[in-house]
Amino acid sequence: MVPLSYYLVLSAILFACGVTGFLIKRNVITIFMSIELMLNGVNLSFVAFAAKWHALSGQVFVFFVMVVAAAEAAVGLAIIIAIYRARETLNVDQMNLLKL
């Protein structure tokens, strides 16, 4: 049997990949995908902990998280479309209207 720590390390790596992607990528869509990656990393640790505690609730939370992520994606993509219409670019470096 695969020990619990393996899952947790994998989930931490996924989360860290998401954070890194968020910080270094410049395309809005890629940044958005990085956030989804972070959420999925968390999902993995929820499932792993559910197995540790023999509690089904941990697995159910994953579904909640998926639903929330889907809602967030709907709104996020709409915002991205709105910004593309206004600026014709998806590069975050050019989102610099609001600055001191």
Binding site: S57, V75, L97
Partner: protein, 512 residues
């Protein structure tokens, strides 16, 4: 056939009463969404806004009804007590005032969208749930309900690049922060095998606090700190507040903040021993300093108020840094009072800014405010009251809010933090007074048209002014209520201790 096990899980009728405000607000929100396509685009807006406003009034009524039956509901995931009723009233009242002040704003900006009011109601549902939830996963969902609504609201002037940009920034950074919150929840679940705050608290009492819990709490603090705009998680605030529509800023600088504070109060005091929770101390000191220093150099009033909102998050966080259990109720009560006073003055200030900004939000710099004291004395006077309250001048709510927070902090021996706070209040006075000076003592350099104040904005301003002054002259009632309900937040083992209600109420009575 229902087995006993299933029968346990099926909610009873009484449990629905405990989410009645949320149900009512959702229903009104859905009603607005359904009616929106049927209505005339020009004239229907007022009707939809009116429905939204009635919805908030019904929500307040439902809150009163809900508070009559305190207790747990839905498999212990919701707890109704004085504490959650307080924040329900606060959040729904903010929504009502914002709807009132948006009425005219939307017409001036030529925004025709009934869903604006629906989104405010849906956001309020999330914030209400945040204040009553005692289950971390439910808190996460409620946090997202409130956030997703505000992401959309921030971008409501969608033909203006600044507004969409503010929406995008809020969305990206907001979801980034909530992912951290969720990771924290997973850690808590992993460490204790439960996501129920009460169960976690019990587990930690009997088994000690594992390292994973500290990591989990810190990660959750990242998520909530973002919502509070507490430094070092404040970077988004000025940009988002500058681009978002002014009434929406009034909404999202107060209501989600109050709700996030409610969550933080429950988590910090029930799960974690605040004594070990030094990040709160650091965040409080940093927010006050960065917020006030940042505001000094601003020329855009919305941006200035954004930095001021960071500073106020810092003052509020001071109340969380109480180290000894006997001071906890004082801290909680002070924080609740501060949230209420801040809501009154900030919603009011942004209502004035929104009214004054005019079409396309062109008039938002300090230069535009020159001579406002002469051209529209009443508007300037009302704004002055809110600004004085933000400084913390006596007979306004802001004074007692700061007073209670700092006196609670002193009693808990947080001398350094209090000192930083008081110095910061003095710095803060400079930039608030600068607006007042500009309004009253400068000759206007350009012609700024000020339209007549409509009934909606007028009512909202009157209510905000009344609340600000009421909290400044008769703070006892609200504070007393806050102190009583503070007991509900305390973890079981401390709540029973006889030392709890300390002498704070004695202080206002000594006033003439």
């Amino acid at each position: 056939m229902i087995t006993p096990l299933v029968a346990q899980v099926i909610p009873q009728a009484g449990e629905y009463v405990r989410i009645l405000p949320e149900l009512v607000l959702s229903l009104f929100g859905i009603l607005i969404m359904l009616l929106d396509p049927l209505m005339d685009e020009q004239r229907g807006q007022k009707t939809l806004g009116l429905i939204g406003f009635i919805g908030t009034l019904a929500g307040l009524l439902a809150t009163w009804y809900m508070s009559q039956s305190p207790g747990l509901a839905f498999s212990n995931s919701i707890q109704i007590d004085g504490f959650s009723a307080f924040f329900h009233v606060l959040v729904i009242a903010i929504a009502a005032l914002v709807i009132l002040s948006s009425y005219e704003y939307l017409a001036v900006q030529h925004i025709r969208a009934g869903e604006y009011y629906a989104l405010i109601l849906f956001g309020t549902v999330g914030m209400g749930l945040m204040s009553s939830a005692v289950e971390l996963v439910l808190i996460f969902i409620a946090l997202e309900i409130s956030s997703i609504s505000t992401y959309i609201l921030a971008g409501f002037r969608r033909y203006q690049a600044a507004s969409t940009e503010s929406s995008l920034k809020y969305f990206l950074l907001g979801s980034f922060a909530t992912a951290f919150f969720l990771y924290g929840v997973a850690m808590m679940f992993g460490a204790t095998g439960s996501t129920n705050i009460d169960k976690i608290s019990r587990y930690l009492q009997s088994n000690g606090v594992p390292l994973l819990v500290y990591i989990g709490t810190a990660l959750m603090f990242v998520g909530l700190g973002f919502k509070l705009a507490a430094a070092p998680l404040h970077v988004w605030t000025p940009d988002v507040y500058e681009g978002a529509p002014a009434p929406v800023v009034g909404f999202m600088s107060t209501a989600p903040k109050a709700a996030a504070f409610a969550v933080l109060l429950r988590i910090v005091f029930a799960i974690n021993e605040p004594a070990h929770f030094w990040p709160v101390w650091v965040a409080a000191a940093l927010s006050m300093t960065i917020g006030n220093l940042g505001a000094l150099v601003q020329t855009n009033v919305k941006r200035l108020l954004a930095y001021s909102s960071i500073a106020h998050a810092g003052y509020l966080l001071v109340a969380f840094a109480m180290t000894t259990p006997e001071n906890w109720p004082n801290g909680i009560a002070a924080a609740m009072f501060y949230a209420a006073a801040y809501a009154a003055m900030n919603v009011g200030a942004f209502a004035v800014v929104g009214h004054f900004a005019n079409a396309g939000e062109q008039y938002v710099t300090l230069e535009d405010y020159e001579g406002l004291g002469r051209s529209s004395p009443l508007l300037a006077a009302v704004l002055t009251i809110f600004l004085l309250s933000l400084i913390g001048i006596p007979i306004t709510g802001g004074f007692f809010a700061k007073f209670y927070v700092f006196s609670a902090a002193l009693r808990a021996n947080l001398i350094w933090l209090t000192l930083i706070g008081v110095v910061n209040s003095a710095i803060g006075a400079y930039y608030y007074l600068r607006i007042i000076v500009v309004m009253y003592m400068r000759e206007p350099r350009k012609q700024v048209p000020v339209s007549r104040v409509s009934f909606g904005v007028g009512t909202a301003l009157a209510v905000c002014t009344f609340a600000t002054i009421y909290l400044g002259i008769f703070p006892n009632r609200v504070l007393h209520y806050a102190q009583q309900s503070a007991q509900n937040v305390m973890p079981v083992h401390v709540a029973g201790s006889p030392t709890s209600t300390a002498e704070i109420p004695a202080i206002p009575r000594s006033r003439p």
